[in-house]
């Protein structure tokens, strides 16, 4: 599959601080790629380098075969960008903004059609400063689509939006993918990445710490599947002594880590044989968010410990 984005050995330094420290990844054409990381991890710096808004210190970067910094004007004809908290001229209306961008890019967009695609038709003639946060982001999406871009960069497009507005943006992203466009998505919301992305990369302290599909990252870095049941501490003690599996207890929730497909039956049989009252039986899996918090937390704790020992 052809690559829309290729990054190799990317470094960005601000004085002695390495905001991005040797990052490598590739994004195939037509995929949604989620770029995750805590605040200050290097997400926005990386995406701005890819957009051609910021120069790099070292490394190779190619977007649609072009160098974003030195060939920015050519690249900008082929990409769409929605920055964090999209802003526009206060007294300009969405339909006017689309016509304006159409002239700038030399395209002939139909404002009504484009606003319908991002579900903003009812605000076609409202001044930008009267739009809600979600509506402003939708206009940003519409403007990013004016040039019919092959690659879209969405930098935290749903931050601060209410759940309904967020789901509206998700639908638009799904539609973009179905149209064959590549979407580079940075987000704080792990659920969003898990739902939308084909590929995920997690960056922390300027380095990629995990990369792959959501399920492969969970499988590689997450805990095993667990059987969960609500019961007294005596039930946990009984299971520890009878099933030979790791058992944890947290506020009345007993979790038993499962190793193979026969374990659930063994655990259930043991619960029944204990004669101890129980309820709300089920299994739980780690989510991408669980894995993210675990990985980032472990790295931070390791650095704190290393700092103490030096």
């Amino acid at each position: 599959m052809a690559e829309a984005i290729r990054v190799h050995g990317l470094v960005k330094r601000y004085g002695p601080l390495a905001a991005v420290d040797g990052v490598d990844f590739k994004v195939p054409m037509g995929q949604v790629f989620a770029f995750l990381g805590p605040n200050g991890a290097g997400k926005t710096t990386t995406v701005e380098i890819l957009e051609g808004l910021r120069n790099r210190t070292a490394g190779e970067v190619s977007v649609l075969g072009l160098d974003p910094w030195s060939q920015g004007r050519q690249l900008h004809q082929q990409i769409g960008v929605i920055p964090q908290e999209f802003r526009f001229f206060e007294k300009t209306r969405p339909a006017e903004a689309i016509r304006y961008y159409g002239v700038l890019f030399g395209t002939h967009p139909d404002p009504a059609e484009l606003l319908a695609r991002v579900r903003l038709s009812d605000k076609a003639d409202a001044n930008f400063d009267t739009l809600s946060g979600g509506q402003k982001q939708k206009l940003g999406l519409a403007l990013a689509l004016v040039s019919e871009p092959k690659v879209l960069f969405l930098d935290e497009p749903t931050t601060g939006l209410d759940p309904s507005a967020r789901r509206g943006i998700w639908d638009v992203i799904r539609n973009l993918r179905s149209e064959g466009r590549t979407v580079f998505l940075t987000t704080h919301y792990l659920e969003e990445a898990e739902l939308l992305a084909d590929q995920v990369a997690i960056i922390h302290h300027g380095k990629i710490i995990a990369e792959g599909t959501s399920s492969s990252i969970i499988a590689a870095h997450g805990r095993p599947e667990r059987l969960r049941v609500e019961g007294p501490p005596s039930l946990a003690e009984y299971l520890r002594s009878h099933v030979g599996l790791p058992v944890t207890v947290d506020r009345g929730q007993i979790e038993v880590a499962l190793r193979d497909k026969h374990d659930p039956i063994r655990v259930l049989t043991a619960i029944e044989e204990s004669g101890i009252p129980w309820k709300d039986f089920g299994t739980v899996h780690d989510t991408l968010e669980d894995v993210f918090i675990q990985m980032v937390g472990e790295m931070d704790e390791g650095e704190v410990a290393a700092g103490r020992s030096t």
Partner: protein
């Protein structure tokens, strides 16, 4: 440069501007209000005469009546004779009437004049009102001199005829119109561009625009064209208002058009430069005020530069707005196109240099 992109940016910016009532008020209506205020002040100042209350103690002798008539005929004052028998103390009477100016013709005035013996008329003045005092004293002294000359059998040889610069007698209102056009040329672009350049930077709108094919030069040129158009509209409104309402003498001449183009070019570029070097919108506002306010008051907008002391006049000559206003005065009032050309050349060179500096100084991207 792509004209279609410039026109598109001009259109979006214009529509946004027209939807902002504050911007429209300060660009188009506020200068008219200033013309109205100053026009009323100048009109009253030009037509109102000083009322001089006269107490004639010479029992309406022919000589005393002729003296008061001659004083009234000077045109500088209006003589109002009061009944000496009914007012009591003349000085108190003047005080009760708001301290106007008064003159007393003494008893025996006609007899002394006929006998050619000295006699004094007394003037009551308010020392705090220098204009009334000076005018009245000069008028009375002039009439007294004429009476003395006549009594001595002499004839006046040296006369005085008044005129002003140019072929027309200009009033303050005439000078105010070019001044206020200059005021609009500096204030609208300067305040707007300083605010726009710093706010767009803070709001990351320049970065947003950098992701489109629009160039910095096209964006800045569209702003210059907008403020040129705004200046044309504003100048037409001010000239029309001043001419129709206050009968201002303005000679419409096509030679004024270059000033209406080069002026906004200069100050849009200067505003952009000031906003670009500022780190925050707040500091940009301060820089804009530091640049703008001295020019507003020291370039001949409200007060003629010739009335300043020499150091201030020298300072005025380094202000670019001085050359804009002086050039328009030369075109609109005096028809002195040679000097206007010199003024225009100075502003044009500065405008081109500032445009280049502004293009270099303001950044679409961070690095």
């Amino acid at each position: 440069m792509n004209p279609r992109r410039i026109v598109a940016d001009f259109g979006v910016f214009s529509r946004g501007y027209l939807r902002n009532p504050f911007g429209l008020f300060f660009s188009l209506i506020f200068p008219l209000i200033l013309i109205g205020i100053f026009g009323l002040i100048y009109t009253n100042g030009g037509s109102a005469k000083i009322t001089v209350y006269a107490e004639n103690l010479d029992h309406n002798s022919n000589a005393s009546l002729e003296f008061l008539s001659a004083l009234n005929s000077t045109g500088a004052v209006t003589v109002q004779v009061v009944d000496a028998s009914s007012i009591g103390n003349f000085s108190q009477y003047l005080g009760q009437n708001g301290d106007p100016v008064g003159i007393v013709i003494p008893a025996g005035f006609a007899q002394s004049y006929g006998n050619q013996t000295p006699v004094n008329v007394t003037i009551y003045v308010n020392p705090q009102d220098a204009v009334s005092t000076g005018t009245t004293e000069a008028a009375v002294q002039g009439v007294a001199n004429a009476f003395n000359l006549h009594a001595a059998g002499g004839q006046p040889f040296v006369g005085v005829r008044s005129s002003t610069l140019g072929s027309t007698i200009f009033g303050n209102i005439d000078f105010l119109i070019p001044g206020l056009i200059g005021f609009t040329i500096v204030t609208s672009p300067m305040f707007a561009m300083v605010e726009i350049s710093s706010t767009y930077k803070k709001e990351r709108l320049f970065r947003q625009l950098s992701l489109t094919p629009l160039t910095k030069g096209e964006w800045l040129l569209s702003k210059i064209l907008f403020y040129v158009a705004l200046t044309f509209v504003s100048a037409a409104m001010m000239i029309g208002f001043g001419t129709l309402v206050f009968h201002a003498h303005v000679t419409l001449n096509i030679a004024v058009l270059p000033f209406l183009f080069v002026g906004p070019l200069f100050f849009v570029s200067l505003g952009m430069l000031a906003g670009s070097v500022a780190k925050t919108p707040e500091s940009a506002g301060v820089i804009g005020n530091i640049i703008t306010f001295p020019m507003m008051f020291l370039s001949g907008t409200f007060f003629p530069v010739q009335s300043f002391n020499p150091p201030l006049q020298a300072f005025a000559h380094i202000l670019p707005l001085f050359y804009v206003i002086d050039g328009m005065n030369q075109v609109l009032l005096f028809g002195n196109l040679g000097r206007a050309g010199d003024d225009l050349a100075i502003v044009l060179v500065g405008a081109v240099l500032l445009f280049i500096a502004a293009i270099i100084a303001f950044k679409w991207r961070d690095e």
